[in-house]
Symmetry: C2
Subunit: 254 residues, 2 copies
């Protein structure tokens, strides 16, 4: 190992270049090698002399090891994620690969550059649904048992948290979103607001507001973030425009 | 009301201008009137012809009403928050003021511009502690009963969420952080990593890593974000450098 290697893990934000921080842009420009899931890498302009290493989805650990190998060989490597790299994205995979890899990897410079997460972008788009305590949960049972997901959903909703759900649905996981709504209907009022936000800030963005009683699981796909209010979350209806959703800052003593 | 009023609620990010999005910068430049808590407003360059309305802390609702009055009078108003405006900041107060105000306010253009939250900035600074499910809780009992805080801390830690705690301590709330650690020691291993991050990304940034068993409540003040791992969160020790903290993506079936 040359000891001069450098690895940056970059959150690009949700898609709109105006939401990508100057810090992320500068880090992309300093890299000799870019690594990421193909569709995310495609958002970075190609520059002469910079290698793009596009990979498939669901190979996070292989991708992390590849990035570390390149950095250990002296390259300036940037791993790119959509949103924020630390929220259900590549940062955890890179540190996992370091933790279980050659101890020499611990001497590398590894910098994580935060990005606007889908969570924050969707919340801003609809008002202020995260105005009070909230939980962020991946509905995927690819890396954890479904029982853990159910336990966390029930605990969080029961304690009055607003819920933000990543990875709600995919072809390989078609029933989880529906089961989640079933569980939550036992804990929360049917009037609780549910927001489905897909491809937020991109040209094909779509946003739908429903209630927990009538929320259609088929509305979610793998690009959708689902926000579910608490019993305190409110909807402000507007003439001829999308309603605003917010969660008040105050909880009065019972 | 003129109907032409425009209100933007802007997250400036944690302090480093390189973390402020181009979208936020453009929105600041389009405003005729800027409103916010003094220290946050001081981060925005003064321009000729732009009014700065600085206010004290803890007057969020008054500040929100003032912003709405100006917008209703036809101004282009920007309300500025540190971090993300939707996370324990001004966005919820503005929508609350609309919800309980003149119905004509619902016709205003109100745009929320997301920012890099302290949550994401701190996580990135130390590794990937938010790599799995997490909860975000305000420890302040200024707007909610302390009993609700305790119930949420216990539910979230018991269900295996990583915890991010805003507003952990202030002169008016000196004992809450210590009580929080006491509660969590009954639920989580003493080795659970605790991160205290104050003034993240600013010149006076300070970061300390402790364990739940030895975490000192006095380390937190009102500018501190406290991250508390789950039982799965790991620390990677490094020779001569700050340790990295990450939460693995995978939970194996018991």
């Amino acid at each position: 190992m040359s000891g001069k290697g450098h690895l940056t893990i970059i959150g690009l934000g949700p898609g709109d270049p105006a939401m990508q921080t100057p810090q992320a842009t500068a880090a992309l420009e300093a890299a000799t090698d870019l690594i990421g899931y193909g569709p995310y890498l495609a958002r970075v302009p190609v520059r002469a002399g910079v290698m793009h290493h596009a990979t498939g989805n669901r190979v996070e650990l292989d991708r992390a090891r590849h990035a570390l190998d390149l950095a250990a060989a002296g390259k300036r490597v940037a791993v790119v994620s959509s949103g924020d790299a630390g929220v259900f994205a590549m940062a955890s995979a890179v540190f996992e690969a370091i933790d279980h890899g050659d101890p020499a990897l611990r001497s590398l410079d590894v910098i994580v550059i935060p990005g606007i997460s889908a969570l924050l972008a969707v919340a801003a788009r609809v008002g202020a649904p995260l105005g009070h305590d909230f939980c962020v949960i991946s509905l995927s049972d690819h890396l954890k048992p479904w029982g853990v997901v159910e336990q966390r959903l029930t605990a969080a909703a029961g304690a009055g948290f607003v819920l933000a759900l990543y990875n709600p649905s995919s072809r390989a996981r078609p029933w989880q979103m529906g089961r989640c709504f079933e569980l939550l209907r036992a804990v929360l009022p049917g009037t609780t607001p549910v927001i489905f936000a897909t491809a937020i800030s991109r040209a094909n963005e779509s946003i739908a507001l429903a209630t927990l009683a009538d929320a259609d699981p088929a509305r979610a796909d793998m690009r959708t973030l689902v926000l579910i209010g608490s019993a305190a979350t409110r909807v402000i209806e507007r003439p001829g425009a999308m309603s605003w959703v917010y969660t008040p800052r105050r909880i009065d003593a019972a």
